[in-house]
Symmetry: C2
Subunit: 250 residues, 2 copies
Amino acid sequence: MTQRIRLLVEYDGRPFYGWQRQEGQPSVQGALESAAEALDGKPVFVQGAGRTDAGVHATGQVAHLDLTKPRPIRKVADALNYHLRPDPIAVLTAEDVTEDFHARFSATGRAYRYIIQVRRAHLTFDKGLIWRVPVPLDVRKMQEAADHLIGEHDFSTFRDAQCQAKSPVKTLDTLNVSAYGDRIEVTTTARSFLHRQVRSIVGSLVEVGRGMQEPGWVKDILEARDRAACGPVAPADGLYLERVMYDGDA
Amino acid sequence: MTQRIRLLVEYDGRPFYGWQRQEGQPSVQGALESAAEALDGKPVFVQGAGRTDAGVHATGQVAHLDLTKPRPIRKVADALNYHLRPDPIAVLTAEDVTEDFHARFSATGRAYRYIIQVRRAHLTFDKGLIWRVPVPLDVRKMQEAADHLIGEHDFSTFRDAQCQAKSPVKTLDTLNVSAYGDRIEVTTTARSFLHRQVRSIVGSLVEVGRGMQEPGWVKDILEARDRAACGPVAPADGLYLERVMYDGDA
């Protein structure tokens, strides 16, 4: 009888080759699995809700794992964090769940945030944590462009060539562009996303924001259903997996 | 005829041994002077408003320098930043000033911000950029303690042994403790501060916040005028020089 545990995980993606374990490269999954193995004494598989790319961050990744030696749940987060340090990965909460909970397949929604800073000077504190754009952006036009993408569409244009999803059809529930001074944040929610979909969308919205394209262009490239029509893909730096939703959560 | 230039400078203090140039050690002043020398072709002295300690950050340090080869001011920030990269120091603005402007001696006030995060897990994105305190803090009691320090006092208790100021008497104009969720920020303004005064104050306020001392204890240790009475000094991590004030500024 194993103990299934659900984790809420935060990480700074800068030093990692992404979520997924890769032989000989630092990964978030690999670091969590090593920490869990140190705890359990046996190899442990850690299942994440989303496989974030190299350099992409998470403030609210969800994962599950099974321990063969049951432990008091209130000590699990501290114990995993003890083994994770000094890696910039932190288990924020750990809770017991039933065996039918699956971090990936039980998820009913994902929320991402993309942070852009409009500024001429290079970054100091936030290098690798936000996308610096050195020219002004028209946020109103970016939102106008974004509105064309909300709802169910064939997102072939905004899908990486490596994407393994069976269908390019996805439903964006929300896609909001907000300005906080010189900081512009794009937030979006959907049941699930295609590979690089958020970065592809943000890159195209920035083309509109900087005046290279009109908002209607985003509708045109969406309807083209052609990867070649997409604007430049935004860098990993500004992207955060912020939340994963499950039935029954508050 | 030299060209005096006022700079607004931001830096991440983590990799530096403080503002002040030191032989063989990375410093903010040293990096700015190297960049200015690359621009001017001669050694340039850069005068800062405040000498921040090792690991202390700035979002609004002010400095001045004199160039022997006058240049169009609108290109100076970009040119300095070109030479500063990839160091986490950025010149945000550069403006021509008259020769009577002195970054340190003309300053009429300084504003610092100290950022604390209440959280059990180790830090990820913000390691070295905030002070993590793993226990709850009573913000109301911290403000009650802080109120004893506002105004003109002999701050001998809150002054580092190395402090070179002639007098321990300073006037704190403001000292506010604010909570934003689990983040607690202490902001303070004064004409000038003693060496490690802000970190000494914050360290003692946190003793009150975590319940080790009552708010009135801060009044007692202030009146003791004795460095030995001070609580633990808060780490450099959470401290930011946020603003330097001058007559005539907006």
